[in-house]
Symmetry: C2
Subunit: 121 residues, 2 copies
């Protein structure tokens, strides 16, 4: 599958909240994940599919998700960008907020080998 094709599947699954299914189907075992800034609980860089699953599970366990908007994919060669807008309540603050971030995904041989998230805290 091309980056554009994987992007379409990723967007469709994320709109249904099936982020874990995306990881299982499309992520390379050697996936590298890079946050925009170092997060107190999860750090900035995760390497390997188990670490990335762990980060996603932490996120799900610590946020109440009211709504997700997923815009894209926007492809270019072996990469694509997706715009995520989350309407969430982080459990540690209890304050409902909007998170807007871009994900940049890099594909090699039909698998996502890198994801990087772009946002301002």
């Amino acid at each position: 599958m091309t980056a554009a094709e994987i992007g379409k599947e990723l967007v469709a699954l994320c709109r249904q909240g099936k982020n874990m299914e995306v990881i299982g189907r499309f992520y390379s075992p050697t996936i590298e994940s890079v946050e925009a800034v170092a997060h107190p609980q999860i750090g900035q860089v995760q390497k390997g599919i188990d670490a990335v699953k762990g980060k996603n599970q932490w996120w799900l366990d610590n946020h109440e998700v009211h709504k997700v908007e997923v815009n894209g994919p926007f492809p270019n060669g072996d990469q694509f960008i997706v715009h995520f807008t989350y309407d969430v309540t982080p459990k540690h603050t209890g304050k409902r907020m909007t998170m807007s971030e871009m994900g940049l995904f890099t594909v090699q041989q039909g698998k996502i080998v890198k994801e990087a998230f772009f946002y301002t805290m």
Copy 2:
């Protein structure tokens, strides 16, 4: 200036239609510009600031711009992403349309050294 700081300036200037001023102020002489697909008139990759100015001038000469929305910047390290939405009429078709694309910009030593545009034709 950091990538995030340059991103803020770029967004502010692009909202005013001052794209050429962005190039003059922030682009490296060795800028590389990569479109998502090869364009019949302008190709896919431009190298050097004169080639990039030429592409921008071609675009301005061949599109009637009704409105531009610029969302961002979304930074991560030495890169940032900006979402551009153009309400335009290409002169060769005469048909008003919306173009939605992501720009991924890479900064080195205070200058933008690469821009890549992500979209579906």
